[in-house]
């Protein structure tokens, strides 16, 4: 639909990309949420990304919705429809809502001119009197008329929209009826708009979930056994905490809002030392504050999970927008030689399993695990297949009561030594950030330091991470390596280039640290060239991989900073270009 995808004849995905935009009080987020809920009821997959202006209330906002017959965890290259309830400052989103000549702009008739930035794309504009329509139906809202329009354009059945409305409705029956009538009016009005790509007829499917990455991570943590959380509110991690607060209480756990992140990390280290699997969630600024405490968990060998929902940085940066720029900090940002585990979910769905796995790793390895989620995954909502329960739960090696010859930091072959848990007789020890001997007694001796450094490094390096370390898919001389929310658009880009005959392998890495060179070597069997894809300005992942792994060929990087999400077309273009360079002799010379 946009230039990019036209150049790459892609397998057409049945579905619709629609942006609902408007300013304060227009209710576009609610309309988008209901559209997604209705699509789920109708058997479709989909994704909704939110974007908004700098105001807390009343600001301009857009719900970017993609509906599709097949799983979709990426936005498309552009939008088929832009539906605006008003145009106040909506031009701010011109970059985020790319349109083409094939797109349709539906504007509120009473709200005047379409901003030039949108008209310049050549998109067709139709004005609809949605406000007047809502006025004509006492007790109804304009955004419900818009929902009807959007639903009809997407090809959703009325029952699905009605069911979604019913489920979310908290007011009286009369106003429910009024708003259903508004939806009907919107659906009728959509008839005049001409055709746009829409969903095929679908069967409602049981077992689908509607979930955000933040909820998914919180849920995965509880599945993995987390029962204590201390955290300090921060965008975009707050929803994870707000979801966990009542959920944890229900399963007998505790969540506490700490006074700051220094407190959060130290509280969870304390709680976990006391035997309860613990977690905190934050974003870059909070992670920065936590580093000293994370180092304590490394040294004292206390399992903790720290979810970093990445946002644009550095410093306060771009709080409500996504970027993968905390990677370097997560893999190396602690003082001293401090091995730690870093895990990145590869999709919204995977936030469940990856966080669950992280609890398992933290407990098994008695180590801090940093989960690198990001704003895109965290705050977007998707229709997904119910994530199966991997069954992994956090279980730590605990010393028996009165264990003979108990040494908390015993130098075992695996590097993992049984923990003494307060309350258990005969295994008392003092957890410490000071270097120590095997007994746990502070020591500045050269041998003890060496033994403990080796032990902490060995336990991470020798652990059997199984197949979960990465999702490897396809064959080809070119491999694309990525992590986190880049994987969604990348998968779509790869499907497109494969359809046009380009062979490419995908390595979506879930375990970012410790680095496992043998695993990647194995995955890159037969690969002659590597392209590393990531969303940050400094090519952090590329540099990290080059430091730790022997990558074949002359490794290439495709990176750019946020806040705009990757589009499949730009990635497809980069892959095709990289594949084209493989045959060039220059690479032969270097590779041999």
């Amino acid at each position: 639909m946009t230039t990019g995808s036209m150049d790459n004849p892609a397998p057409a995905r049945a579905g619709l990309s629609i942006a609902l935009a408007g300013s304060g009080g227009s209710g576009v987020m609610t309309a988008g949420t209901l559209l997604l809920a209705a699509a789920a009821k109708a058997g479709a997959y989909g994704l909704m990304v939110r974007t908004s202006g700098p105001q807390i209330r009343g600001g301009e906002a857009a719900a970017l919705v993609r509906l599709s017959a097949t799983p979709a965890e990426s936005l498309d290259d552009g939008f088929d429809v832009l539906l605006a309830l008003d145009w106040q400052n909506v031009q701010r989103f011109a970059d985020e809502i790319p349109l083409s000549a094939a797109s349709l702009i539906v504007g509120e008739a009473a709200e005047g001119e379409v901003p030039a930035a949108f008209l310049a794309t050549g998109a067709r504009h139709v004005a609809l009197p949605m406000k007047a329509t809502a006025k004509g139906i006492a007790g109804s809202w304009t955004n419900m008329v818009a929902l009807g329009v959007a639903g009809a354009l997407a090809g959703l059945p009325r029952e699905a929209l009605a069911a979604a409305l019913r489920e979310s409705w908290k007011r009286d029956e009369k106003s429910y009826e009024a708003n259903l009538a508004a939806i009907d009016a919107g659906m009728a009005a959509a008839g005049k708009l001409g055709a746009v790509p829409s969903l095929p007829a679908l069967e409602p499917k049981a077992g689908r979930w509607l979930i955000s990455g933040n909820e998914a991570a919180g849920f995965g943590a509880i599945r993995g056994g987390v029962r204590f959380v201390a955290a300090y509110p921060i965008t975009p991690a707050t929803e994870l905490l707000e979801w966990m607060a009542p959920a944890l209480a229900k399963v007998g756990g505790t969540l506490l809002q700490a006074e700051d992140e220094l407190a959060s990390i130290n509280m969870i280290v304390g709680a976990s030392y006391a035997g309860v699997p613990s977690l905190t969630a934050t974003a870059g600024p909070g992670l920065a504050l936590m580093t000293e405490g994370i180092g304590l968990a490394v040294s004292a060998e206390v399992p903790v999970v720290v979810v970093d929902v990445m946002r644009g940085g550095p410093s306060t940066g771009i709080p409500a927008k996504s970027e993968q720029s905390d990677l370097s900090f997560a893999v190396s940002g602690l003082h001293g030689d401090a091995p730690r585990v870093v895990v990145a979910p590869t999709s919204i769905t995977d936030c469940v399993a990856a966080t669950q796995w992280s609890v398992h790793l933290a407990e098994a390895l008695q180590s801090p695990v940093i989960v690198l989620s990001d704003q895109f995954m965290g705050q977007s909502r998707a229709i997904v297949d119910r994530p199966a329960d991997s069954g992994v739960v956090g279980r730590r090696l605990v010393a028996e009561p009165n264990a003979p010859d108990f040494k908390r930091y015993r130098d075992t072959p695996s590097g993992i030594s049984p923990m003494g848990i307060p309350g258990v007789p005969g295994t008392a020890y003092t957890a410490d950030g000071l270097e120590k001997n095997e007994l746990g007694t502070p020591s500045s001796g050269a041998r003890d330091h060496r033994v403990q450094l080796d032990k902490r490094a060995r336990k991470l390096a020798k652990f059997d991470y199984g197949a979960a370390w990465a999702d490897v898919d396809g064959e080809g001389e070119l491999a694309v390596i990525a992590f986190g929310s880049s994987v969604g658009p990348l998968r779509e880009a790869i499907a497109r280039v494969r359809a046009s005959g380009v062979k490419v392998k995908l390595v979506a890495m879930r375990l970012l640290a410790p680095a496992l060179p043998e695993k990647l070597d194995e995955a890159l069997e037969g690969v002659r060239q590597v392209l590393v894809v990531e969303q940050n300005h400094g090519a952090q992942f590329y540099r990290y991989l080059r430091a730790w792994f022997d990558l074949p060929g002359r490794p290439e990087s495709f990176h750019r900073p946020g806040p705009l999400p990757f589009r499949p077309a730009e990635l497809a273009e980069a892959i095709v270009a990289a594949a084209g360079r493989i045959s060039q002799p220059r690479h032969e010379a270097i590779a041999s």
Binding site: I56, G58, T238, D260, S315, T316
Partner: protein
């Protein structure tokens, strides 16, 4: 942004430039919700600056993170919008480095009493000559309505369903106990009264703490009625910490005015009047 009356007018007229409060406002428009108390606080601060006839370029407004902490950019003074909770630390640095500047540190109750709580204690006891303004709305506005240290224990929110169950913090008591040299409470809805208190606070030597009740109409709409609760403190200001302590300990949370203006010596500022040259340092190494 510095669209202020320039001191050049001094030369032209022979009189110091008259600066109206508007001269201390920048062209940047606040993102605060309409109705937010912080609008009035901004206006009071500019009024106080104007009353004291401060040159905007000789004032530094320092903040952390939060709705209220957006304030520096809305003034025509030098501004520092630092990181969450560290405003007092940054402001202390500014003042120690440049004692001749007027330093006003401003922010919210979360920024100042929660993540910045420790800095608050030490800023009070250190008693550096600066003014600290907390726009207290008993909530975290910017992150969407979580409880702060001054939130009532039974206030229901998503992150603390049913309330925190934790007693609210009393900033004035803590400030006094920690050694703040000037302790006052003001109300955003009384911009002129607040401006008077701020002017007095800025003039008063040492660490001046002004807690301003400033409603958050979005997450605490019930605070709209604060204007009916506030009342002038029924006592005159005192320099006796014991009397002030009794006063704030029996406080209903709505007493307005200067509750304590002490006589502690401020943290010594300023550099040596007779600095030595670097070369002189070499003397001790001479063999």
């Amino acid at each position: 942004m510095n669209d202020t009356a320039t001191p050049a007018s001094v030369a032209e007229t022979g009189r110091p430039a008259v600066r109206t409060p508007a001269n201390y406002k920048s062209a940047t428009k606040p993102i605060w919700c309409p109705g937010c108390g912080d609008y009035s606080v901004l206006s009071s601060i500019t009024k106080a600056f104007s009353m004291l006839a401060l040159a905007p370029e000789e004032v530094v407004v320092v903040s952390g993170i939060g709705c209220s902490s957006r304030i520096p950019a809305y003034t025509s003074c030098y501004g520092f919008h630092g990181v969450h909770g560290r405003a007092l630390a940054a402001g202390t640095g500014v003042k120690l480095a440049r004692p001749e500047l007027t330093v006003l540190v401003a922010g919210g109750d979360g920024d100042g009493y929660s993540i910045g709580g420790n800095h608050f204690l030490h800023a009070c006891r250190r008693n550096v000559d600066l003014t600290y303004v907390v726009m207290d709305n008993h909530v975290y506005g910017m992150t969407k309505g979580q409880p702060s240290p001054t939130t009532e224990p039974d206030w229901d929110s998503k992150l603390a369903p049913g309330g925190t169950g934790v007693r609210a913090f009393h900033p004035l008591v803590i400030a006094l106990a920690s050694g703040a040299n000037f302790v006052a409470r003001a109300f955003s809805g009384d911009p002129n009264g607040t401006a008077d208190i701020l002017a007095q606070a800025i003039r008063h030597p040492g660490f001046s703490f002004v807690e301003i009740l400033s409603p958050c109409v979005t997450f605490r709409p019930e605070q709209r009625t604060w204007k009916e609760n506030v009342h002038p403190a029924p006592v005159a200001e005192t320099d006796d910490p014991a009397r002030a302590a009794r006063r704030v300990m029996t406080d209903d949370g709505f007493n307005m005015g200067v509750l304590y203006a002490g006589r502690r010596k401020p943290y010594p500022l300023g550099r040596r009047a007779d600095p030595v040259g670097v070369a002189e340092l070499e003397a001790e190494f001479a063999a």
